[in-house]
C-alpha cells in the first residue's frame, strides 16, 4: 500500500478538525474526496503532505510508519500537494518553475539549469502537450499553469499528487484534457487525491470516493454503477437535498430587461435575451462559456463594447457600475470572498455599503439611526444568524455571508438582481433560504438572472434557462419542457 493513515485526529485549540480518521491510497489510483467546506478533508491532506502535523494517529508510507514530517520530507517520500493557488511563481519562466524545487532539494548552491532541460522535455512529451518552457509563467492561461504545477510534481518524482480543487478555474475542454492526463499518469503508476465540490467529476474520474462530514470520515466507496451522485450528496450533507417546486411569478406582458446584440471582444458575442417582470432566468454553461463575463458587463464592472440594453423599454447606460446600478442592476459575484464581501470589516458595514448614499444627507452625513435600523432589518429579513453586528463578517458561516451579500443589494431595491453561482460551498439550510428570498422578491416584480453549475438548482428555480457556450447563447428553453438529462444534452452540444 502506498499510503495508509490510521486513526488521525487533529485539534486546533478547542476545535476538533479531524476525529479518528482512517484513509489509504493504492498505487496508480485516483481517489476522490468530497465534503462541504470545513469538513476536514483539506486538513487531512495537509497532514499527509506534511504541512500540518496530526495531534494523534499514525501515517504509514510503503507500509512503514513515519513520524510527523515536513513538506520537504514529504517530497522525498514522493508526496506532493498542488494547492488551489498552484503555488507557482508568476514572475519566473515555466522551466524555472518546474526545476527550482529540484535544485533546492539537491542542496546545490548554484543553478545549472541545462542539466534539467532534457528531463523536463521528456515529461512534457510523455504527456503529449505543448508548453513553451521559456515563457514567463503569468503569460500562460490558468489551465496551462496547472499543468506546470503537475509537471513540477512529476519532475520531483512525486508518486502521490494531491490536487486541491484543480478544476474550479478550468473550462470544460480544459477539464477533459486534465482528466486525460490524470488517466495517462495513473496508468504509469502515479496516484492522485482529487478534491472537488463538483460531484460529477468525482464520478467521472475517480476509482474510489471518500466522503467527510464535520471532521468524520463518513465512508469510502468504490466508484461503480451502484454509487450515485445522490448517494454521495446524502453522505456529504447528512440528508438528501430536495429541490422545492416554485410557482412562476413571471409576468409575460411586461418586459423588464431587453438585451440585444451585446458583444465584448474576447468575452462574449451577439448576446440577445429578454427578462420579464418577476421572472427568474437561468443561465447554464460551463466555466469559460462567457456567463460571468456577461454578468459583469450588465453590471458595468467590465462593460460591453457594443449592443444595447433596455430596462422597462428604455435604453440604459451600463458603462460603469455606478450607471448600471442607477439603471436598476445589482450583482452577487461568483467570488464571494474576494468580490462579494470585505471580510475584515463588520457585518453592519458590509450589509449597508450599497445603501450609504440613501442613508446620508447633505455632505454625505449619515443618519445614524436609519443606518443602524437598516442593518438590523436586513439581517432579520434574510434570517442571518450572527452574534454582534460589529463583528467582522468573516466570523459568519459561508451561507450567512452569502445572505449578507444578497441583503446589501436588496436594500436598494434593484429591478434586476444577477446571481452568479450564489450557492457554491454553502450549507443546505442557507441554500433554501436563498431560494425562498429569490421567489419572494420575484413575486414583488424583481427580475433575476441566475447563473449556476448545478442543473437541478436551475431547474427548480428558473422560469426559463438560457444556455451559453463559447461566448454565445446557444439555446433558451422553458424549464417546464426540460429534464436534467435534456438540459445536460443541450449544454454538451
Amino acid at each position: 500500500m502506498l499510503l495508509k493513515a490510521s486513526q488521525i485526529t487533529k485539534r486546533y485549540g478547542g476545535v476538533t478538525a479531524l476525529d479518528h480518521v482512517d484513509f489509504d491510497m493504492e498505487k496508480g489510483e485516483i481517489h476522490g474526496l468530497a465534503g462541504v467546506n470545513g469538513c476536514g478533508k483539506s486538513t487531512l491532506m495537509k497532514i499527509i503532505a506534511g504541512a500540518e502535523h496530526q495531534t494523534s494517529g499514525k501515517i504509514y508510507i510503503d507500509d512503514e510508519e513515519k513520524p510527523p514530517y515536513s513538506p520537504a520530507q514529504a517530497m522525498k517520500y514522493g508526496i506532493g500537494i498542488i494547492y488551489q493557488d498552484l503555488s507557482l511563481f508568476p514572475n519566473l519562466s515555466v522551466f524555472e518553475n518546474i526545476y527550482l524545487s529540484r535544485v533546492l532539494a539537491s542542496g546545490s548552491k548554484t543553478v545549472r539549469s541545462a542539466q534539467y532541460r532534457a528531463g523536463v522535455e521528456e515529461i512534457i512529451k510523455e504527456l503529449g502537450i505543448e508548453l513553451d518552457l521559456d515563457a514567463t509563467l503569468d503569460e500562460l492561461p490558468i489551465a496551462k499553469q496547472q499543468l506546470v504545477a503537475i509537471i513540477r510534481a512529476l519532475f520531483n518524482k512525486t508518486r502521490l499528487i494531491i490536487l486541491d480543487e484543480p478544476t474550479t478555474a478550468l473550462t470544460t475542454q480544459e477539464i477533459e484534457h486534465l482528466f486525460g492526463i490524470l488517466k495517462t499518469l495513473k496508468a504509469k503508476g502515479v496516484s492522485f487525491v482529487f478534491i472537488t465540490h463538483k460531484l460529477t467529476e468525482l464520478k467521472e474520474v475517480c476509482d474510489r470516493v471518500t466522503v467527510f462530514k464535520d471532521g468524520h470520515l463518513i465512508g469510502t466507496y468504490k466508484n461503480d454503477e451502484t454509487l450515485t451522485i445522490g448517494a454521495i450528496e446524502k453522505a456529504m450533507l447528512g440528508k438528501e437535498l430536495t429541490y422545492k417546486h416554485y410557482d412562476s411569478n413571471s409576468n409575460p406582458d411586461k418586459v423588464l430587461l431587453e438585451v440585444s446584440h451585446l458583444s465584448k471582444k474576447n468575452n462574449f458575442k451577439d448576446i440577445s435575451l429578454t427578462l420579464h417582470e418577476g421572472e427568474v432566468l437561468g443561465i447554464a454553461g460551463q466555466l469559460g462559456s462567457g456567463r460571468t463575463e456577461l454578468a459583469k458587463a450588465l453590471f458595468g464592472a467590465e462593460p460591453a463594447d457594443s449592443g444595447t440594453i433596455k430596462v422597462d423599454g428604455k435604453e440604459v447606460d451600463c458603462s460603469s457600475i455606478h450607471s448600471s446600478v442607477e439603471s436598476g442592476f445589482a450583482y452577487v459575484p461568483e467570488d464571494r470572498l474576494a468580490l462579494g464581501l470585505v471580510l475584515a470589516q463588520s457585518i453592519r458595514r458590509n450589509a449597508t455599503i450599497c445603501s450609504l448614499k440613501r442613508l446620508s444627507g447633505l455632505f454625505g452625513v449619515l443618519n445614524l439611526k436609519l443606518y443602524k435600523e437598516l442593518a438590523l432589518r436586513l439581517l432579520d429579513e434574510l434570517k442571518v444568524k450572527y452574534g454582534l453586528v460589529s463583528q467582522p463578517i468573516s466570523s459568519l458561516s459561508g451561507g450567512n455571508q452569502q445572505k449578507v451579500v444578497i441583503a446589501k443589494w436588496l436594500a436598494i431595491n434593484p429591478r434586476i438582481l444577477i446571481l452568479d453561482s450564489p450557492t457554491v460551498g454553502i450549507d443546505v439550510g442557507a441554500k433554501s433560504g436563498i431560494y425562498d428570498t429569490v421567489h419572494e422578491k420575484a413575486k414583488e416584480g424583481m427580475g433575476f438572472v441566475f447563473i449556476s453549475d448545478e442543473l437541478p438548482e436551475l431547474l427548480s428555480n428558473c422560469d426559463r434557462i438560457a444556455v451559453m457556450s463559447h461566448g454565445r447563447i446557444t439555446a433558451v428553453c422553458n424549464t417546464s419542457d426540460l429534464t436534467e438529462e435534456k438540459l445536460q444534452q443541450i449544454i454538451a452540444q
Binding site: 513538506p71 503555488s87 511563481f89 508568476p90 514572475n91 519566473l92 546545490s108 474576447n266
Partner: protein, 335 residues
C-alpha cells in the same frame, strides 16, 4: 527574442539616454567627452552601488529606507577609527565598512522577519535610530582628515588616458568596482539558489515557503546585503568628497529608490534587473548633468526627478492595464 528586447524597459531606457545625450551635445559639445563622462560616472558611483542593494530588496518584495543611515554610520566609524589608530589601508577599510553595514542591515532583517511587520516602518525607525545616535555620539562633528589610501578609490584611474591639456582622465577605481559589482550581482541573481530564492520570494512568498525556499535565511541575507552595499558606497563617497559629513547622504534614499524603479523594478516585488537598474542610474546621471550643462536652474532638478518617476511608473501601469484589458477570457466562437 530580438523583438522582446526591443520592447523591454532596458531598451527604452537606453534609447532615451542616447537621444537625451545627443540633445545635450547639440547644446553643449562638452557633454560627450571622456572626461565629462568619467566624472559623471564617478559622481554617480555611490548612487549606483546603493541602487544594487535596493534592487535586491525590491526584488524580494521588501523595502529599505535605512541604507543611507547605515552608510553614514559605517563611514563615520571607519574613518574615525582608521584616523585614530593610523591605519591607512583602503582594503581593510572596505572590509570594515561592509561588515559594519552588514551588521546594521542584519538588525533590520531580524526585526522584519521575526515580527512580520512592514519593512517600510521598521527601516524608517532604524534610519532614525542610526542617524540619531550617530549625531548624539559625534555631536555632528565633520571629519576632514581622510586616510590617504582612500583616494585610491576616487583618484586612481584604470586604463588612464591623457587629454589635450596633459591631465589624466579615465574611469576611477571606485567606478570600476561599481561595474564589477553590477556583473557580480547579475550573476548572483541569475545563477545562485539564493539569488533565485530572492526573486521567487518577491514573486510569491507563500509559494516560496511551500516549495521549500528558506525564507528566514533569504530575508536576513537581503537586508544584510543592502547594509554591506551601503557600507561600501559610503567609503567611496568619502573618498570622492574627501570629508565625512554626518548628513551628506541621509535624506537621499528616495533618489536611489526612484532610480531603481525607473530601471523597471517593481515595488511589489519579483521584477527588476541589474541592467535596468544600471540604466536607471545612468539616466539620472545624464539628466542631472545635462540640466547643468544646459544651464537650467538646479532648482528644477528635483521637479524633473519627480516628473520622471511619475512618468515611468505611469508607463508601467498603463502597460499593465492594457495587458489586463486585452486578455482572452473566453474563446468566442466566430460566425
Amino acid at each position: 527574442m530580438l523583438l522582446k528586447f526591443v520592447k523591454s524597459r532596458e531598451f527604452f531606457l537606453f534609447m532615451f539616454i542616447v537621444v537625451f545625450s545627443l540633445a545635450i551635445t547639440v547644446v553643449n559639445p562638452n557633454f560627450l567627452t571622456v572626461e565629462n563622462f568619467a566624472d559623471l560616472l564617478k559622481s554617480f558611483t555611490v548612487l549606483g552601488i546603493f541602487s544594487l542593494g535596493v534592487l535586491i530588496v525590491l526584488l524580494s518584495g521588501g523595502f529599505d529606507l535605512s541604507f543611507t543611515a547605515i552608510a553614514q554610520v559605517a563611514q563615520y566609524v571607519v574613518v574615525y577609527f582608521f584616523v585614530e589608530y593610523e591605519v591607512d589601508n583602503v582594503f581593510f577599510a572596505i572590509i570594515a565598512t561592509m561588515v559594519i553595514g552588514a551588521l546594521l542591515g542584519l538588525v533590520n532583517g531580524v526585526i522584519i522577519y521575526y515580527y512580520h511587520i512592514t519593512a517600510i516602518i521598521v527601516t524608517i525607525a532604524t534610519n532614525s535610530i542610526y542617524i540619531g545616535f550617530l549625531y548624539v555620539i559625534t555631536e555632528g562633528e565633520l571629519l576632514y582628515d581622510i586616510p590617504e589610501s582612500f583616494s585610491f578609490l576616487s583618484d586612481t584611474k584604470i586604463f588612464p588616458m591623457v587629454n589635450a591639456s596633459g591631465a589624466e582622465v579615465g574611469i576611477c577605481v571606485g567606478t570600476a568596482f561599481w561595474f564589477l559589482l553590477c556583473i557580480l550581482v547579475h550573476l548572483f541573481i541569475k545563477h545562485t539558489v539564493l539569488g533565485r530564492s530572492i526573486v521567487a520570494i518577491g514573486g510569491n512568498q507563500l509559494s516560496a515557503s511551500r516549495v521549500g525556499f528558506n525564507i528566514c535565511r533569504t530575508t536576513l541575507f537581503i537586508y544584510t546585503f543592502v547594509g554591506a552595499m551601503a557600507g561600501f558606497a559610503s567609503l567611496i563617497q568619502c573618498a570622492v568628497f574627501q570629508s565625512v559629513v554626518p548628513n551628506s547622504m541621509v535624506g537621499h534614499e528616495m533618489e536611489v529608490i526612484a532610480a531603481v524603479v525607473l530601471g523597471g523594478a517593481s515595488v511589489t516585488g519579483g521584477r527588476g534587473t541589474v541592467l535596468g537598474t544600471f540604466l536607471g542610474v545612468l539616466l539620472f546621471a545624464v539628466l542631472s548633468n545635462g540640466l547643468t550643462l544646459m544651464k537650467i536652474s538646479p532648482f528644477f532638478y528635483q521637479i524633473f526627478t519627480g516628473i520622471v518617476i511619475l512618468l515611468s511608473v505611469s508607463v508601467n501601469a498603463l502597460q499593465d492595464l492594457h495587458r489586463k484589458h486585452s486578455q482572452v477570457r473566453v474563446q468566442v466562437k466566430e460566425d
